[in-house]
């Protein structure tokens, strides 16, 4: 019995020594990736880099929806913690401030074409670089729009959008399709409204007030615009406004690819599924800005920003940090790296970026070239994101069902923000 114990103990000791041994020496890269759909591409790229340079690159992908918990537990492994991870927004910066290495002046940052998508800490240092960007708006089925007797050029602001949508909704039975897809408030869909749509009032308020960092309070000065567009979504759609929590993201997507609705609020990331999996014709698709009744919105472009920002672990060894930064530089400059990034993430804000075939991005670029203003992702400042959004979702649901008035939404938006900020600071 004692002998067996001794053997087991010795084995355990040897194992722990081995793991220490591999932690020292040459730098290595450990990437905790948060996009399951890009896992294979990252694994392949990591192998290529390892074959090329001999540097060990390990990629672990957190299961869908579990990135935050995986990151928390992985970061606890002192010598084997990720050297590279993602931070998505101001709250992420607050949570991981101690772990995010300032990246100003690194070769990686010198390769960037814009710093618009980067995240900064309280001291004003860049701690996470936006490695790709996304855009969202109202995805439109041009073929259906034409069937209803309109064209994209007819829609230039909220008023014209409402006119077209109201008319389509009124003739829905005759046309065989409605204006908007279901505005589902199930968890798989509600982020489109509690996250992305709330960006409209936040963006315009911050623009007016010159806000450039996370504010402790918001006023909700553009909440009437938010109400305009939300009312339109729930009125001009076939979905039952009393039961919005029963509609999922997949339901809305299906309304759209089945040709049951003309407008679908979503982003560039939908392109691959709509044209690939569901076989829609790219020529029938385009993306309109979200018009909500704000003065001058004729000049608005799509909402562009990102929650995909790389951060390097400040607590990793210097050798590991260097290996990680070298790897990232290779990813955004090499043929293999830029090819993969273009395929997986569309256009990336780096000098060596390759073009993307995504028509939604082409719409975004076209609007920018026409001199329109980008609606940036103001919602990245949201404090206590999950709880603030949950408050909005519940308020929207009660309002839509007639169980509460619009004041509940205003409370969730304004007071909810103040509470969320106080809780996290």
């Amino acid at each position: 019995m004692r002998k067996l114990f001794a053997v087991l103990l010795a084995a355990a000791m040897l194992l722990s020594m081995m793991s220490f041994a591999s932690a020292e020496g040459e730098g290595k890269v450990y990437y905790l990736n948060f996009k399951p759909e890009a896992d294979q591409a990252w694994q392949a790229l990591a192998q290529q880099y390892q074959a090329l340079t001999g540097v060990e690159v390990k990629v672990l992908t957190a299961a869908s929806g579990s990135y935050s918990t995986t990151l928390t537990s992985e970061m606890d492994k002192k010598d084997a913690a990720p050297t590279l991870f993602q931070i998505g927004n101001a709250e992420g910066v607050a949570t991981w401030a101690d772990y995010a290495l300032p990246l100003d002046g690194t070769e990686l940052m010198q390769e960037m074409t814009t710093e618009d998508f980067n995240l900064k800490n309280a001291a004003g240092q860049t701690v996470a670089v936006g490695y790709c960007y996304e855009a969202y708006g109202i995805i439109t089925n041009k073929a259906l729009l034409e069937k209803a007797g309109y064209s994209v050029a007819d829609i230039t602001n909220f008023e014209s959008l409402k006119k077209v949508a109201d008319d389509i909704h009124a003739r829905a039975a005759e046309l065989g399709f409605d204006a908007f897809t279901s505005a589902g408030l199930d968890g798989s869909s509600s982020w489109r409204f509690s996250g992305h749509l709330t960006n409209m009032p936040l963006f315009y308020e911050f623009r007016d007030d010159g806000v450039t960092e996370q504010p402790a309070t918001v006023k909700g000065s553009y909440l009437n615009a938010y109400k305009n567009i939300w009312d339109l979504y729930i009125t001009d759609s076939a979905a039952d406004a009393k039961k919005l929590s029963g509609y999922t993201g997949a339901d809305a997507e299906k309304d759209f690819y089945d040709g049951k609705a003309v407008f679908f609020q979503n982003g560039t990331w939908e392109y691959a599924d709509l044209t690939g999996k569901y076989g829609m014709n790219p020529d029938d698709l385009c993306m309109l800005p979200i018009y909500c009744g704000v003065e001058g919105e004729e000049n608005a472009a799509l909402c562009a920003g990102t929650e995909n920002c790389w951060a390097v672990n400040a607590k990793a060894s210097e050798a590991d940090q260097k290996a990680t930064l070298d790897f990232l530089k290779w990813v955004v400059t090499s043929e293999e790296g830029t090819q993969m990034m273009a395929e997986q993430f569309g256009p990336i804000p780096f000098k060596a970026a390759k073009a993307s075939s995504n028509v939604f991005f082409n719409d975004a670029t076209e609007m920018l070239n026409a001199g329109k203003y980008v609606v940036t992702w103001a919602f990245n400042y949201t404090p206590d994101v999950d709880n603030w959004r949950a408050g909005i979702v519940s308020a929207l649901e009660q309002y839509s069902a007639g169980a509460a008035d619009w004041g509940e939404v205003e409370y969730a938006f304004v007071d909810g923000w103040a509470t969320a900020y106080a809780n996290t600071h």
């Binding site: 772990y99 009393k242 919005l244 029963g246 607590k315 206590d384 999950d386 649901e397 169980a403 969730a412």
Partner: protein
Amino acid sequence: MTKKKRSAGAVTSPLIRRPIQRRFAIFLLPTFVCFCIGFLWPFLQGLYLSLNKFTTTSNAEWVGFGNYVKAWNDPGFRAAFGYTARVAVVSLVLINVLAFFVAYALTREIRGSSLFRGVFFVPNLIGGIVLGYIWKTIIDSVLPVSMSIQAEYGFWGLIVVMCWQQVGYMMIIYIAGLQAVPEDMLEAARIDGANGWKTLWYITLPNVMPSITICTFLSLTNGFKLYDQNLVLTNGAPVRRGIGATEMLALNIAKTFSTANQRGVAQAKAVLFFILVTTIALIQLWATRRKEVQQ
């Protein structure tokens, strides 16, 4: 109780006791080690972390009792406490009354009673999340508005799901208790002319008190600790003036934990939660144990 005495007698025999005393470590150590790793150590670390501000457990900053103050001052936490108590008490009563009467009915000689026992027990084998989704779909399709809009619907929806899931389990325990009621006592009652209700009240119930102790303990702690079904059915909604009207304690703690810089506060809430559930469970055990009879 005779069974217990017999086994106690066997263990006190030196022939069996001595080897056990000599080798007890072999039997106890594995469990003890598992207990330490899986329970004691995390529990102590949790206590320590509740006095810290932390993002990862290896990098904690001491803040003393500040987290407890914050936890107690959170109106959402206090509201969740009240709501949880309401759910726990209502479900405790309903589950046990229903389970007892189902058990009582199924120990009468009814045709197909073993089939019914099986059917009643099956809901227990389905996981809380899956079950919650199924019930959410069913309930929401019947109601005029969803449970996440009307807090009262959410409350009763939760109670229905809890009953449906737990009645079968408690029923099994009650059946075991009912079958152990001594036949001679029942016969004596019959001879003395006691009617059905009197027999139930004065003979059966006192004799199944051990089952009642176990079942009330289980359903009370289940009620307080409930998380899955609460998460799936309403996720705390409707939120009114910033407070989730159907948010229970466990859900409130989990939500706090996912908030930046609030992990210590969530941990403090978890410690308060532990103290609360333990206290209530101990009081309940003491209260029901007193009613148990020795045969």
